[in-house]
């Protein structure tokens, strides 16, 4: 377990990206240590994560991760199975709270507020940081009620016509309106898999979050449905910050502006997507994207 011990050594502050790049690019030798390389930080971040560790009981799942989420960007998180990218994603809206054995240390700020501070209530937090899951999980209710669920529990509307409007705009933003406008009272589960996932995205944006977390949103979809959802993600970027966990590197390359590579609980490299996929700084990143493992 040499990797583990070296990872435990404190590595913050991380090498500031540009500096590291300039050093690395001169020589062709790749970085091999487990410190984050690349450009994890941005100037005016929406979310700021510093030295985040996640434990399940005694087992450490995430080691010392520091990264920013920019405004109006799609940040892709890639890495082999079990590398902790989904775990980290679920820290960003405290969905890990539902797992009793899970413990998170370090700081995660949303618009400058620590979301793990004892005074922070998870309910408004999750309204600001929405989530779309791997498997489409529409509620067993009508399409209308699925979208209206969030606005209703948060009391966002005064009357029925306002609610109708939210439902319509959300479905339009999710590109689903034309397909379901005539059958809003049908159960959400009657839709196809791709439509269900877009319904879940519409449900998430109905409460106007700032950040949307997507945990492998296309892994249960066929290629055509995937293409539609990817297009949708690109459009949503104009209004939201989006963090996408994905197994498909092609997908990360297509939809994201920045990509983060996770490996065994460490954040190995963060950089502009183009750069990660053409000229990665770290040996592990290169091994992964060239298909040597993972």
């Amino acid at each position: 377990m040499e990797t583990a011990t070296s990872a435990l050594t404190p590595s913050f502050p991380v090498m500031i990206g540009n500096q590291a790049e300039s050093v690395m690019e001169d020589s062709d030798a790749k970085e091999t240590a487990r410190n984050t390389v690349g450009t994890p930080f941005v100037d005016a971040p929406r979310m700021t994560c510093r030295n985040v560790d996640v434990f399940y009981d005694e087992k450490q799942a995430i080691r010392n991760v520091s990264i920013d989420v920019d405004q109006n960007e799609v940040l892709a998180m890639i890495g082999p199975s079990g590398c902790g990218k989904s775990t980290f994603l679920r820290c960003l809206n405290r969905m890990n709270d539902t797992v009793s054995s899970c413990r998170v240390t370090g700081s995660i700020l949303l618009d400058g507020t620590d979301i793990y501070h004892p005074s922070v209530d998870v309910v408004p937090l999750r309204a600001k940081v929405g989530m779309v899951f791997q498997k489409p999980n529409p509620f067993p209710k009508s399409i209308y009620d699925n979208i209206a669920y969030g606005p209703r529990i948060h009391g966002l509307t005064q009357n029925r016509s306002e609610l109708d409007e939210i439902v319509e705009t959300s479905l339009k933003k999710a590109g689903l309106w034309k397909e379901v406008r005539d059958r809003l009272n049908d159960p959400g589960t009657s839709l196809s898999g791709g439509q269900q996932q877009r319904l879940c995205i519409a449900r998430a944006i109905a409460i106007s979050p700032e950040v949307i977390l997507m945990d492998e949103p296309c892994s249960a979809l066929d290629p055509i449905a995937t293409a539609i959802v990817e297009e949708l993600i690109a459009e949503l970027r104009t209004q939201f910050s989006i963090v996408v966990v994905t197994h498909a590197m092609q997908q990360a390359a297509r939809i994201s502006q920045r990509t983060a590579y996770f490996h065994l609980g460490n954040l190995i490299e963060v950089g502009a997507t183009e750069k990660i996929f053409t000229n990665p700084l770290h040996q592990l990143t290169e091994d992964y994207i060239t298909g040597r493992f993972g």
């Binding site: 969905m95 989530m131 067993p140 969030g150």
Partner: protein, 463 residues
């Protein structure tokens, strides 16, 4: 010696032998034609077919004889009886035959009986012995001859597996038929007795009558000679007590289930659930005296403090205790169905910023509704069918009252009181029990039907 103590082991032994012979034969056939894979089925299947060919005819014969034995021998004995006995009317003849059988099996001493009957008894024993010898030989033959033919037929093309599967299906169909036929039998037996009752008392009087006093006097000139068979007070009592019980059991059980499945730690849940289920294991008699000796006086005393006249046997006492008894039915089953709602539903709701309670109220409960209603239905049927607690705590008097502080009675209690002791099965008093049973059956049937429709309308189906 019973016929089974010898024949059953023989059948088992022969069937086992047939199995191994079939297995061996299949292996041998496989060896000649190029390995096990050249066979249509596994050697085991050939063995099982051979065993079936052995056991099925033998068991059929045994069962057939078991059913027919008494009739066959009796017919022969009756034919051989002296004229003056054989020509007796049917009811007296059956007495004679009973006497013969009693002597034959050593129940009576033969000394007081007439010589003809003694002879017949000897003949009975003799006949039985002869027949049993014949049948035993027949069974051994039936268990050993057919497998020989099967063994000869074993070849790589014999579709033994398909035969097995078919036999298995027939067996399963048989099992489900038993359940259906039993239900049908119960319904019909109740129905026919009830019809006899309705010949004496008109159906309308029974269903809409407001007076229930089935204890008819023996002589016509006594008071209450006609009896009154209006079922309304009895059903009113049933509904009253069941309603009280359900208004205890549904909230407590459902909320306990929600706590156990959504809030409690897994460790707490694994400990608490069985403890709660112990409530269902307490005999109802124990609940009965708990209700009669503890709860009923408590309610009476509490009532007298606030100036209410409470009888010491009250619907409230019986209903409350019955409700406690039913809690585990609601809680345990509801807990299971709530637990079965996929985690993704909870995640989806929590991820939208819903609180735990909102998630339960708007997502979990609607999704679990069919199961919850199912558990409630089961509890209602328990409440309606419960007898012991009511006998002990609510009394026997059929008051038509919806005041829970008075004594009432229920359908099941009345059925019990009508049928205990020596009864004549041709008086309306006794037959009324069957009419009550039939009406109760229809009542629960309608209840289930309505509940199913409600569930179909409101359920939210996940996947």
């Amino acid at each position: 010696m019973s016929i089974y103590s010898f024949t059953l082991p023989v059948i088992v032994f022969l069937a086992l032998a047939a199995y191994f012979a079939g297995y061996r034969k299949a292996l041998a056939v496989a060896g000649q034609s190029g390995g096990i894979r050249s066979l249509h089925s596994l050697p085991m299947h050939y063995g099982l077919v051979a065993a079936m060919a052995s056991a099925l005819p033998a068991i059929t014969l045994l069962a057939g004889w078991h059913l027919a034995e008494d009739k066959v021998i009796t017919a022969i004995i009756t034919g051989e009886l002296p004229k003056q006995l054989a020509q007796l009317p049917a009811s007296e003849l059956s007495l004679v035959l009973n006497e013969i059988k009693n002597i034959a099996f050593g129940g009576f001493s033969a000394a007081t009986s007439s010589p003809a009957i003694q002879d017949a008894a000897v003949r009975y024993v003799e006949l039985e012995r002869t027949f049993r010898t014949i049948i035993t030989v027949g069974i051994v033959a039936a268990a050993s001859v057919p497998p020989v033919f099967i063994l000869k037929k074993i070849s790589p093309t014999l579709r033994a597996r398909n035969l097995m599967e078919k036999a298995l299906m027939v067996f399963l169909v048989g099992c489900s038929t038993v359940a259906i036929l039993t239900t049908l039998g119960i319904v019909l037996s109740v129905l026919f007795e009830a019809l006899r009752f309705f010949q004496a008392i008109p159906l309308v009087d029974f269903i809409f009558g407001l007076q229930w006093s089935p204890q008819t006097a023996i002589r016509a000139d006594q008071a209450g000679s006609s009896g009154a068979f209006g079922a309304v007070p009895v059903f009113a009592g049933t509904i009253l007590i069941a309603t009280i019980a359900m208004s205890v059991a549904i909230p407590v059980g459902l909320l306990a289930a929600i706590y156990l499945s959504e809030y409690a730690s897994p460790r707490f849940r694994t400990w608490t659930k069985p403890v709660l289920e112990i409530l269902a294991g307490i005999p109802t008699v124990v609940y009965g005296f708990f209700a009669a000796l503890t709860v009923a006086p408590l309610i009476r005393d509490a009532g007298s403090v606030v100036g209410l006249a409470v009888s010491s046997e009250s619907a409230l006492a019986a209903g409350l205790v019955m409700g406690i008894m039913i809690i585990p039915f609601v809680s345990s089953l509801s807990d299971d169905v709530i637990h079965a709602v996929p985690q993704t539903m909870r995640d989806g709701s929590l991820g939208l910023g819903a609180t735990r309670f909102e998630t339960i109220r708007y997502v979990i409960l609607p999704a679990a509704l069919p199961g919850i209603v199912g558990s409630i239905l089961l509890a209602v049927s328990r409440a309606i069918g419960e007898t012991m607690i009511v006998v002990m705590a609510a009394g026997l008097s059929a008051n038509l009252s919806f005041n829970p502080l008075t004594a009432v009675t229920t359908v099941t209690v009345q059925i019990v009181t009508l049928l205990v002791g020596d009864q004549e099965f041709d008086s309306p008093k006794t037959l009324a029990a069957f009419a009550l049973g039939l009406l109760l059956f229809v009542f629960t049937l309608v209840l289930n039907f309505i509940a199913l429709r409600v569930v179909r309308k409101y359920r939210e189906q996940y996947e």
